[in-house]
Amino acid sequence: MKRMKLVMVGNGMAGVRTLEELLKLVPDMYDITVFGAEPYPNYNRIMLSPVLAGEQGIQDIILNDLDWYAQHNITLHLGKKVVCIDRSKKQVVAEDGTTAKYDRLLLATGSNPVILPVPGKELDGVIGYRDIQDTNAMIAAAEKYKKAVVIGGGLLGLEAANGLAIRGMDVSVVHLMPWLMERQLDQIAAQMLQASLEAKGLKFLLEKQTQELVAGPNSSDGGRVIAIRFKDGSEIPADLVVMAVGIRPNTALAESAGIYCDRGIVVDDTMQTYSPGIYAVGECVSHRGTAYGLVAPLFDMGKVCANHLAQMGIARYQGSVTSTKLKVTGIDLFSAGDFTGSEQTEDIVLHDAAGGVYKRLVLRDDKLAGAVMYGDTKDGSWYFQMIRDGKNVAEIRSHLMFGQSHLGNTGHQGQNSAASMPDEMEVCGCNGVCKGTIVKAIKEKGLFTLEEVRKHTKASASCGSCTGLVEQILASTVGGAYAPQANTVKPLCDCTELTHEEVRKAIRKEKLLAIPQTMEFLNWRTPNGCAACRPALNYYLLCAWPHEARDDPQSRFINERAHANIQKDGSFSVVPRMHGGVTNPQQLRRIADVAEKYRIPMVKMTGGQRIDLFGVKKEDLPRVWADLGMPSGYAYGKSLRTVKTCVGSEWCRFGVQDSTQLGITIEKAFDRIWTPHKLKIAVSGCPRNCAEASIKDIGVIGVDSGWEIYVAGNGGIKTEVARFLVKVKTHGEVMEYSGAFIQLYREEARYLDRTVHYVERAGLDHIRQRVVQDAASRRALYERLLYALQGAKDPWAKDSVNPREFAALAL
C-alpha cells in the first residue's frame, strides 16, 4: 500500500509529541515531513528558564535529537519557515521555495510573545521571551549590561527575571495589575511570593503601565533602549527590556490560507480544523474558545490528534484543567483550577505568615474547584487530581487541608516533602532510587508523566508508597508541564483506550465469556494483551459470569496458577487453611511430617495466624498438598486470605462475643472467592480488639449487644483505620452484611484495588446505601456472592491439579 503523506508545520513539543504518539500507533502509515522555523530539533521549551538561570545548557533540553528524526524516516527541514499553504494543490511552500505535498497537514505553529504596541518597541535591547534565540540574547545582554526590566509579572516574566538576576543583572519587574501572577494566585499568596523574590534581590513596580521605551540619545548607543517611561510620568533606566506580557496563538499562516481562526486556529474535539484533512495542535489552537499555554493540555491534544491521524477515530479532546508551578529554585508555589471564588463557593484557608505557608482550597457543591498553595505544595498533585476528577470531598472535608495521609508512610524515612530532601536521599525504598537519580532522568530523558518516570527509574513502580513524593519531584522539575493522569479516564492498560469500568460494562452487556472474544469485541490493540490486562480481564469475566466464563490459567499470575507463593529463588511457599486460626494436634503432626519428608527449610507463622512452609520445590507441590490433607489457604491469591480471630468469650475473661466461632463460620463460608485484590478479615470478641480488626478489609468487633462491622482498613503500604459501616446483632446478619460488602467490592472495584482504594473512590455513603440502607440491594448482592461460591473446588485437591504445570521436561 502506498503510504500517505503527512506534513507538519512547526517542530515544537506539541507537534513532535503528536508524531511520537502516531508512530506508536501506526509506525508505517505515513511518510512524514516536518518544517521547523528554528534551527534546532525539538527541545523542551519549558526548560528555557533553567537554561537562562545557568542551571542547564541547550544540549540538556533537546528532547528529540536529529538521530530520532532519521530513525523514523522523517524528512526534517530546519530553519525553514512555511509561508504558504496551497489547499487546492495540497502542498506547503517554505520561504526558500521548498515545497512538500500532503494528504494530511498538521499545524503546530505555536505562539508568539505579545509585544506591547508602545513607541520604542523595535529598539535594540527589547525582546520577547519565547525561544532559544531570545534566551541566548538575554544571556549575552547579561554579560554586557547591568539594568534589566521585565514587563509582565506572570509565570514567564518571573522566571525570566529570576534567571537574569542569577546572571548578575539588576532586575525590575513591571506589572500592570495590583499583584503578581494574578491569573494563578490570590493576593495573599502573591504577596508572599513577592517578598521571597525581593529577598533574592528582585525589585517590583506594580500597577505601572508602560507608555514608552526610550532610546539612547546618541549613535554610540546604536538606537538601544536606555529607559522605560510609565503613564504616570515616572521613568527607570533599562539596558534590556524583556516583554513577557503573554502569548498569542500564531495563526498567521493558517489565516493566510483561509483556515477559520478565532483567537487561535479553531479545532473540534478531534483536533481537526474547519478545513478537511488539516489538523492543529498546541498553543496555536483554540478549542472550545480556549487557547492553552501550558504543556500538559498540549500533550493531551497530541494523543487525540494521533488517534485520528491513525484513522482510529475514537479519541476526543474535551479540554483540560491546568495547574501551575513556578520553576524558581527555593520557591514552592502551586495553583490549579478556579481559585477566585464566588458566591457559590466556600474557602478553607490555612495561613501561617511567619512560617511562610499559605494554602487556600476553594469548594463548590462539595467538590474541590481550585487550590492555591505557597510554601508547602506537597499535596498539590493530590488536590489537582481531585479537581480534575470532580471528586466529592464532603466526607473528607474536615481533614482535606492537611493533605494526603499516606504520603508520610513507610519506606522513605517519614519524609513527605520532596523539596526538603537532599539529592542523595532515597525516595523509593523498594528499588533503591534516590531523589537525584529521578531528577536527572526527568531532565535528561525529557520525562513528563509518572508512568514514564516509573519505567525509566523504577521509582514508585513496586509498592507505590512513594508515589506522592515522586509526583512532587516531577512537578517541581517540569513545572506546569506536569499533569497527573485523571483517575476517571485512566485506560486499563496500553492495549486499550477503554477504562476498567467501560470494559466491565461491555463484558456484562455483551455477555463476553472469554478473553480472546473480549479483546476482539473491544478492539484491543495487541493480539493477546499484556501482563497487566490479561489477569484483570480474567477476573472481570469470572466476576460477571460465574460458572459460565472460561477461567484462563495462562492469564493468571504464577501464584494463582501454581496455587502457592513464588519466592525469590524460584521455590514456593505453602500455607494450608486453618479456619479462624484454629488448629489441632493431627494437623500439626502432618505439617511436621511434611516439613521433614520434603526437607522444607523453614516453617514460619504468618501474620494471619497460619503456618507457612517455605522453600518447597515446584515439582513437589502436588505431593506436599496431598500429604498435608488440608485445603488451600489461598495465601497466594487475589482472594479471601485469612480470618484472624482473638480467642473471644469462650476463654477470655474480657470477651463478650464468641469471635473465634464467628471467624471460623465466615472463613468457611467465603473461602475460595476471587476478589480484585487480596481480602483480609478479622473478628475480635470485645472492643480491646486483639485481632486488630481495625486495619483489615473487613473488621468485625464484638460488643455486649452485638457486632460492629468496619470496612476498608489497611495495615500495609497505606496504613488506614477501617471505617464504621453498621452495627448488627446476630452471626447471620454479620454474614449477610459482610458478604454483601465483599460482592459490591468484587463488582465495582478495579482489579488490584484494595478495599481502601475502592471505598476512597466510591465513597462510604455509596457503600452504606447499597449494603446497609437498601435491604433488597444487600440481599441481592449476598445472593450473587453465594451463587459465585457454589461448588468452588479446592485447588489443592487431587482432581484439581494440572500435573503439566508442575513437571519439568527432561532433556
Binding site: 519505567k455 493480539p527 494483551g529 490479561r534 495462562q554 499470575f557 513464588i566 503439566r804
Partner: protein, 103 residues
C-alpha cells in the same frame, strides 16, 4: 547447527505458556505463543534471576514473575528502557515435535 534434542511435543506446552527443561547448563524455558511459535531462553531474568518460565506470555514477550520486566522471546533482550539479556537458544518445531539445541 547440530545437537538437536527432542524435548517435547508442541502439545505439551500450553499456548501463551511455558515449560522448563532441566539441562546441564541450567534450566531452559520453552515458550509458546498464541500462533504456535516456540522460543527458548535461559530461565533466568537478567534483572534479579527470576524464573521467566513462570511469567505471563503475551505477543512475543514474557513478563518476569518477580518484578515485571518484559523480555523479548525472540532475542532474550529486556524491552527498553530496561536493559539486560537472557540467553536465547535455538529451537525448532517439526511435525509437532519441539527440538532444542544447547550449542
Amino acid at each position: 547447527m547440530g545437537n538437536w534434542h527432542q524435548v517435547a511435543t508442541l502439545e505439551e506446552i500450553p499456548p501463551l505458556g511455558a515449560r522448563v527443561v532441566a539441562t546441564q547448563q541450567g534450566d531452559v524455558a520453552l515458550f509458546r505463543t498464541v500462533d504456535g511459535e516456540v522460543f527458548a531462553l535461559r530461565d533466568k531474568c537478567p534483572h534479579k534471576g527470576g524464573p521467566l518460565s513462570q511469567g505471563i506470555v503475551f505477543g512475543r514477550k514474557v513478563a518476569c514473575p518477580m518484578h515485571g520486566l518484559n523480555i523479548s522471546l525472540e532475542d532474550g533482550k529486556a524491552i527498553a528502557p530496561d536493559v539486560g539479556c537472557a540467553r536465547p537458544y535455538p529451537v525448532k518445531v517439526e511435525g509437532g515435535v519441539v527440538y532444542l539445541s544447547l550449542a
